[in-house]
Amino acid sequence: MEEKFINLTLKVWRQKRGEKKGKIETYQAKHISTDASFLEMLDIVNDDLTIAGIEPIAFDHDCREGICGMCGQVVNGYAHGEEKGTTLCQFHMRRFKDGDTIFIEPFRAKAFKVVKDLVVDRSAFDKIIQAGGYITAKAGGAPEANIFPVTYETGELAMNAAECIGCGACVAACPNASAMLFVSAKISHLALLPQGRPEAAKRALAMVRTMDACGFGNCSNERECENSCPKNISITNIARLNREFLAAGVLSTAM
């Protein structure tokens, strides 16, 4: 598609640090190349705001190639924008038409407090991983790598789950602000691998409990998460979490 230049109206959520309330402000984005990414569009708007003496819009970002999971906003009601399987940094302005109005809001959840403007605190995800999203292994004690054979198919399934970038789009998109897709991706990744089995029961219980304590909502199988996930992580992982949890809670000796 040929590069074009478009003008847009932005309705952006502004919220000062430390304040509980914010509001939507309206800005104009002028002469935006359709080849620019969404975040580059915001860079341009921010430069204009700076020159105009208005504080730029705060938003998180880092790698800008769709892998670090730092960026994320709800654009026109879609986490990371409307394009499937895409992070916001890889979402391009060619998806918009000249004159469009775009709503830009932060990921909203009780567990993701707004830090400022579009920046939210996702440390709840770290807490969940700290509760058990790992395999205990000391540096120096590992057996030969090929000692655990993993069938190709299982490896692929584990990798599908392991691709999670921890961006929080699943929470943002879920009508209940549930973190089940995120939690299930880690539980699945590790439960599928033989190295992850010894701690599987303990892990499932601890991670689910921590998830609950962080204030996320409950899964009601609405499938908005998998449809918003930039890495296309499937809700079959949530099913695996559910059965891992059931087995851990009822059959295992883990308390």
């Binding site: 080849d35 975040l39 860079d43 880092d62 399987g85 060619r94």
Partner: protein, 637 residues
Amino acid sequence: MQLNSNVPSGPLKDKWDKHKFELKRVNPANKRKFEVIVVGTGLAGGSAAATLADLGYKVKNFCIQDSPRRAHSIAAQGGINAAKNYPGDGDSIFNLFYDTIKGGDYRAREANVYRLAQNANNIIDHCVATGVPFAREYGGLHANRSFGGAQVSRTFYARGQTGQQLLLGVYGQLCRQIGLGGVEMFPRRDILDIVIVDGCARGVVCRNLVTGEIESHSAHAVVLATGGYDNVYFLTTSGMHSNVSACWAAYKKGAAFANPCYTQIHPTCITVHGDYQSKLTLMSESLRNDGRIWVPKNKGDKRSPDQIPESERDYYLERKYPSFGNLVPRDVASRNAKLACDEGRGVGNTGLAVYLDFSEAIERDGEDVIRAKYGNLFQMYHKIQDEDPYKVPMKIYPAIHYVMGGTWVDYNLMTSREGLFCLGGANFSDHGANRLGASALMQGLSDGYFVLPYTIGGYLATQSLTNVNTSHQAFKDAEKQLTEKLDKLMNINGKRTVDDMHKELGLIMWDYCGMARNDAGLKTAIQKIQALRAEFWENVSVSGSRKDFNQTLEKGYRLADYLEFGELLARDALMREESCGGHFREESQTEENEAKRDDEKFCHVAAWEYAGEGKDPIRNTEPLVFENVKLTQRSYK
């Protein structure tokens, strides 16, 4: 400055074992009495923090992002090397060592590189034990691929996101330690000064990026693992927050900076468009296993690629380097792309691109096979360029991707400042003048999991360190100095935005210190950088408040450091009057336009020492001695 590499004596293959034996150890009960600050949570920093905590040290770990899982190691795509010899194609530790030292154009320390090759196999074992889902064969064992100029298949990979999977493995280990209380995590912090007490690094001063507060933290040793300085070029494949500030602060506190001119240009990046562009995106060089690079034979051929017949295409890498073909090392591939474009044979709107063509591979193996290997890369390309690479050849061009230079360290990874260590991409140690593909991940994990945990014990066990806390005058002084600097920046109220000036710096660096450098250009660059730096302190605009979440201010002080650092890079490039690896001096090339080293004059590390504000830095050298390999002109013909 006296630079002692502390490389142990003895045969190459026994050095590390001997050294480990000779290092003093800290009694397990005493470890908890030592506090260690680790800056960075990438492969090097994260693995070091987790391992040190597991050993019993009290660790404080800092990162810029909101979570340790987002460090830029995550963006590495292709893989990680190890000499497991799983495919049975004749690999060995010595072979990996040899390839790495040759690939680095003989500008790295033999002992460090050999240790790296030795540790590589342990890294794979440990990563697998921590749950990294490397690709498997149908039989369930690990799959390997050839990568980045190696003639054996020694690269372990997890689709096109090996860095992500390795980092998440490290992040898991780190999280475990955070949960257990061994590591105290400080996310969203910028380390802006290193505090020295009695000649030893004893703490850091940082800015809390959420509240804007200046915070001090004390420890018995400080470890920097802050990654590379490539963003001095503005448009790079690095994360937007990657910066040189912590290493630059260390430099000013006595940690020499080595070989800053060794920058790596990655041959396969998505091409530049528009001046609003913030970031370049890498396409893994694993693509060169199946993709063929070509340009039209004739200058200014503007036909679409499918209209150009085979006979009018120039597969220049295959033509010039028949034995390596499209798999030549990165510096060679990059330079040849530049040559082709300089000759006017570049493609695309800007003429600054070459084709990476998969049509033959798709015809040979089928689209499904290609999709299974590179699906996510193709998808990424499609999204950015809005062209389907299954149908139209990719357009690629070299871009700044990695830097081999960094803070000088000895064999123990300690800088020239006592008690200050530097790991991973932030140090200069293992890649010489050019890094081979799939080696960065290996170095980060080797340093963090398997080197520092031993060597830092050797340091701590032999020191009689007094207890220092943040009420010490040295911390107060550093805080005051930093506050003044930030206030000064906030009060300029000029007319140019930080990004605008950063882009200008980036262009100066790219034009004069990019893929090809020469005496006159480098001198011009130094002048231009000095002028831009002067303008910066008079005409930059930083809005908002210092005591708030302020991303413009963050960018501002990072750029202030880059404006000083950029000059050092250019000076280093100017003084190194030879071509080696990623550093190509136009004055020093063979008749076939290949990089020509000058081993007589430049077989050394250049370690720059800070001489004080407004004074020219001092260039110290550490000679490189090669006892196990013979220095040859690299040839990939």
